[in-house]
């Protein structure tokens, strides 16, 4: 990701080379000709709601479809484990000697989910499964509206902060002998609230979302959440990515406007791209908002290396 940035960019395209010129339109007409049908957003929200609903349905009707919650579950009897929880429990187990008791299900649960997201794109979890993401996505819309109306100011931080939190929460777990992060983890809290009934702890989620709306955009997801950071690391070498094709791009920057992690779309700016084809990096949640919005279809889902195989 950083290696690409330091390379010399390709020369900017001339006006005649722009995709709107090829279609015989000007930029404004070309952008207006694109109707955003929110194809991928509809699919994504359906999957997100569907998965969380499956948990609720399983517990309500006593079915063994998808039992447990997002911190640990069984899909048709097959174990799945949250990776950050796994790290914490594994680390603490080696310190206290509990590792002798750990079962095969623990290993299977972790490996399955690890392998799945290794191929499905790491942070795909965030936008396609995480219930907090769903709330935060709406929060982000509200935040952007308030910024536009000049009611609030933006406060942004260095995104490397999440590594401080990632190590920090792991250290805290060791020092206190407690899964501290799971106590404040909005993913687990929301998941449990939906499955086992709400509790007072939801006030914490409310506080978090209000903070994100009025103070700092996507604060938890961008700078804190160690689960997302874990997925980001898992997805470093994933084949599923968002592909960018320079020759179809008119640098209108509509995609950066809607992107949930705009720094991953650094190559769409005029004169930024260093290659004809770029793939978005590991922070990309594969949400598909940019795919929906792009007038020239310069952005699309891809499986790296697929063309070579074919």
């Amino acid at each position: 990701m950083f290696g690409n940035k330091n390379k010399t960019p390709l020369p900017s395209k001339s006006k005649d080379e722009m995709p709107y010129a090829k279609a015989g339109l000007n930029l404004k007409e070309w952008r207006n000709s694109h109707v955003n049908k929110h194809k991928w957003r509809t699919r994504r929200w359906s999957v997100l709601i569907g998965i969380n609903l499956l948990f609720v349905v399983s517990v309500t009707f006593d079915l063994s479809l998808l039992e447990g919650s997002l911190s640990g579950s069984r899909l048709l009897g097959f174990y799945l484990m949250d990776p950050y929880n796994t790290f914490q429990v594994a680390l603490l187990s080696f310190i206290t000697g509990h590792w002798k008791y750990l079962t095969m299900n623990f290993v299977i649960g972790f490996s399955t989910i690890f392998l799945f997201y290794f191929f499905a794109g790491g942070r795909t979890f965030c936008s396609w499964v995480c219930p907090y993401h769903f709330l935060a996505e709406w929060g982000e819309k509200l935040h952007d509206y308030l910024i536009k109306k000049k009611k609030i100011k933006e406060h942004s931080y260095n995104i490397s902060l999440r590594f401080v939190f990632w190590v920090g929460f792991l250290l805290l777990a060791v020092l206190t002998g407690n899964l501290v992060f799971e106590d404040i983890n909005p993913i687990g809290i929301l998941s449990r609230a939906m499955i086992y009934g709400p509790g007072l702890i939801l006030l914490w989620i409310l506080a978090l979302i209000i903070f994100e709306i009025v103070y700092s955009k996507r604060f938890w997801c961008r700078y804190v959440c160690p689960v997302g950071t874990t997925w980001s690391m898992v997805g470093k070498a994933t084949p599923l990515a968002i592909k960018f094709e320079l020759d179809k791009c008119a640098h209108c920057l509509d995609c950066q406007q809607v992107c949930l992690v705009p720094h991953e779309l650094w190559f769409v700016k005029k004169g930024a791209a260093t290659k004809e084809v770029h793939n978005a990096g590991s922070d990309c949640t594969r949400c598909g908002l940019c795919v929906d919005v792009c007038p020239g279809n310069a952005l699309s889902y891809t499986i790296k290396g697929w063309e070579k195989i074919l």
């Binding site: 399983s58 517990v59 006593d62 039992e67 447990g68 919650s69 911190s71 640990g72 579950s73 069984r74 174990y79 484990m81 949250d82 929880n85 914490q88 429990v89 603490l92 187990s93 206290t96 509990h98 008791y101 750990l102 079962t103 299900n105 623990f106 649960g109 931080y157 260095n158 490397s160 902060l161 401080v164 939190f165 920090g168 929460f169 250290l171 805290l172 777990a173 020092l175 206190t176 002998g177 407690n178 899964l179 501290v180 799971e182 106590d183 404040i184 687990g188 449990r192 499955i195 086992y196 509790g199 007072l200 702890i201 700078y223």
Partner: protein, 272 residues
């Protein structure tokens, strides 16, 4: 990126990083403090851990609060703790007065399903296998060869959630009183299928009518049986009263069926 830009970025990272570390230390200190003040209240009558729970200090780090044990329990005895339990928030417990663990399950699934083994299954598995071995030697040629109930009984006898304790001042038997009717009223939703009923349908406590000269509901309904609790003339004065023995597993069925307003028998968790 220019040199000054880099420096600015680094300075920004160091400042916000310091704030992050500060926040983490604050959270850590808060957690440490909460852990200290809730350690006592966490382990009380209302906070009985499910069968096979390892030591509380280990339980609290190993439990990822997934709730698989909650969902698999056929009588819904296991619940997740609310926020008032402090750091135990989200971890499973059994409130035996509302719904005891009646051991009517097939294989102690709650323990078996636990992905992090804070409900530790292997000990039960070993006990069950030993029981089968023993049964095999004696009954291999029997017509009705069925080691399953023996295995399950051996597994369940190994559970040690707590020990029942009788309040002798309120217990009906200690006052020489009997009991007639249903113990917990018409609206009580508790299920009690023990001991070892073949009836697949759940039996509600409120559907059972008793008529006892001397109240012995706790003894009558105990799923473990005579190794756990018996009626005995302990003082030698002809008064027969319940007596808790070493085999008590702390399942709490006695607490659930106790007819007095406040239960005259409670389960005290094992403190280890």
């Amino acid at each position: 990126m220019s040199q000054t830009g880099k420096n600015l970025n680094r300075r920004q990272f160091i400042t916000s990083g310091a704030i992050a570390v500060g926040a983490l230390v604050a959270v850590g200190a808060g957690v440490g403090y909460l852990q200290k003040i809730t350690a006592e209240t966490r382990i009380n009558q209302d906070f009985l851990r499910p069968p096979g729970a390892i030591a509380e200090s280990d339980f609290i780090f190993g439990c990822i609060k997934c709730g698989l044990c909650v969902q698999i329990c056929p009588v819904h005895a296991i619940k997740l703790a609310g926020i008032k339990e402090g750091l135990a928030y989200g971890t499973p417990y059994i409130d035996v007065r509302t719904q005891a663990c009646d051991f009517s399950c097939d294989s102690m699934q709650c323990v078996e399903t636990c992905p992090t083994a804070v409900l530790y299954f292997k000990q039960f598995k070993v006990a069950g296998e030993k029981a089968i071995e023993k049964y095999d030697k004696l009954h291999r040629t029997d017509k009705n060869y069925n080691p399953f109930p023996v295995q399950i009984k051996a597994m369940k006898s190994l559970v040690k959630m707590g020990v029942a304790k009788i309040n002798t001042s309120t217990c009906l038997a200690f006052q020489g009183k009997g009991f007639k009717g249903t113990p917990r009223g018409e609206d009580f939703k508790g299920i009690n299928r023990s001991p070892y009923t073949d009836d697949p349908k759940a039996t509600l406590v409120r559907d059972k009518v008793y008529d006892e000269k001397v109240c012995n509901l706790c003894v009558k309904e105990c799923p473990i049986g005579e190794t756990a609790i018996i009626m005995e003339d302990s003082s030698g004065g002809g008064k027969i009263v319940p007596k808790v023995l070493k085999g008590c597993t702390g399942c709490g069925v006695c607490v659930m069926v106790c007819p007095t307003e406040e239960p005259s028998i409670v389960v005290e968790p094992i403190k280890s």
